[in-house]
């Protein structure tokens, strides 16, 4: 019986020790706050990148359209010059 109690006591102390060790190696509140802020910054950057990609795509489309319009105008000029015999 005594032996058994001894085993239980040892096991309890051992686990308690593990628990204590686990607690003692946790990051501090300040460090956790730093991590949270870093996560927020990353999330904000991801959003900015998504917005910028959208803006870039829209601008690329506009530029392509304007290039088309310019080419059309230049081609119209050629046709009109021919039509007028210039």
């Amino acid at each position: 019986m005594k032996k058994l109690i001894k085993y239980i006591l040892i096991a309890t102390l051992f686990n308690g020790g593990l628990l204590f060790m686990g607690c003692s190696s946790s990051p501090s509140a300040e460090e956790l706050k730093q991590l949270d802020e870093l996560k927020k910054e990353v999330s904000s950057l991801e959003k900015k990148i998504a917005d910028s990609k959208g803006e870039k795509a829209s601008l690329e489309k506009q530029v392509a359209e304007k290039n088309g319009r310019l080419q059309q105008c230049q081609s119209d000029q050629e046709v009109v010059k021919k039509g007028l015999g210039k």
């Binding site: 058994l4 990051p27 730093q34 910054e41 991801e46 601008l59 105008c73 000029q77």
Partner: protein, 246 residues
């Protein structure tokens, strides 16, 4: 004794399983360091991406502004070639767009409805002929648009100007008289429209009570009698009444 032994095994087992679970719920210093390093690296990567994107956007904006200026210069030179101003071209474009929209509306109408807009279409056709003579039509995109619109309008006018005809059958077989012909679904679907057939075929029909088999009658368009047709019908009814003995 055995009971206590089993109990102690359970207690030890519980400690061994619960403690790591508790430890897992809270982050360890090592995990924190790893996460910090991961997020810092990710942040640096994202910042670099964002910088590149900002540069690309700036370049595109510059390109866009330059293209705007090039287009205006090119168009001004084009308009100068044909001796018109930007305002002239804009007014021409606006009028043409309005006509294109109107023709699209007309294209959705049935032939019967279209008949009511014949005058409008004739006016549009005449205006398009004037526009086709404009110098602005030397610019291919306007010349093409005017040409396309003229073709569409012509198709619409043709669809209502197709002359419908009816070949008269025999009374014995077909029971054909102006009243019965006008009543036919594919003619007017309205017997009271018979004077329209009469007036449209005055060269053949001298007396509306007499039509002959194999005559090819013109079926004038429209779904209402004109003043002249009504007047002719009234005159016919009066004569008929006068000749009928009391």
């Amino acid at each position: 004794m055995r009971y206590l032994y089993s109990l102690s095994i359970i207690v030890i087992f519980l400690f061994l399983t619960v403690v790591p679970l508790i430890a897992q719920e809270e982050m360890t210093k090592d995990q924190w360091q790893t996460e910090m390093a991961n997020y810092k690296s990710k942040k640096a990567d994202l910042e670099s991406q964002l910088n590149q994107l900002s540069k690309d956007i700036e370049d595109l904006k510059k390109q866009s502004t330059k293209l705007d200026a090039d287009i205006i210069a090119c168009e001004d030179a084009l308009y100068a070639l044909i001796g018109v101003t930007r305002a002239d071209v804009e007014a021409f474009d606006k009028e043409l767009t309005q006509m294109e929209n109107r023709v699209s509306e007309l294209q959705r109408m049935s032939d019967a409805e279209l008949v009511n807009y014949k005058d409008e279409m004739m006016k549009m056709d005449s205006r398009l002929k004037e526009m086709a003579q404009s110098k602005i039509c030397l610019i291919p995109r306007y010349g093409d648009r005017v040409n396309t619109l003229q073709q569409k309008l012509l198709a619409l006018l043709n669809s209502i100007q197709k002359e419908k005809t009816y070949t008269v059958g025999t009374w014995a077989k077909d029971r054909d008289c102006l009243w019965n012909i006008a009543k036919k679904k594919d003619i007017y679907a309205n017997a009271w429209m018979w004077p329209k057939i009469w007036q449209g075929n005055r060269n053949l029909i001298k007396d509306p009570d007499i039509i002959k088999p194999k005559w090819v009658l013109k079926i004038p368009e429209g779904n209402q009698l004109t003043k002249e047709e009504k007047s002719a019908a009234n005159s016919y009814y009066r004569k008929k009444a006068a000749s009928t003995p009391n």
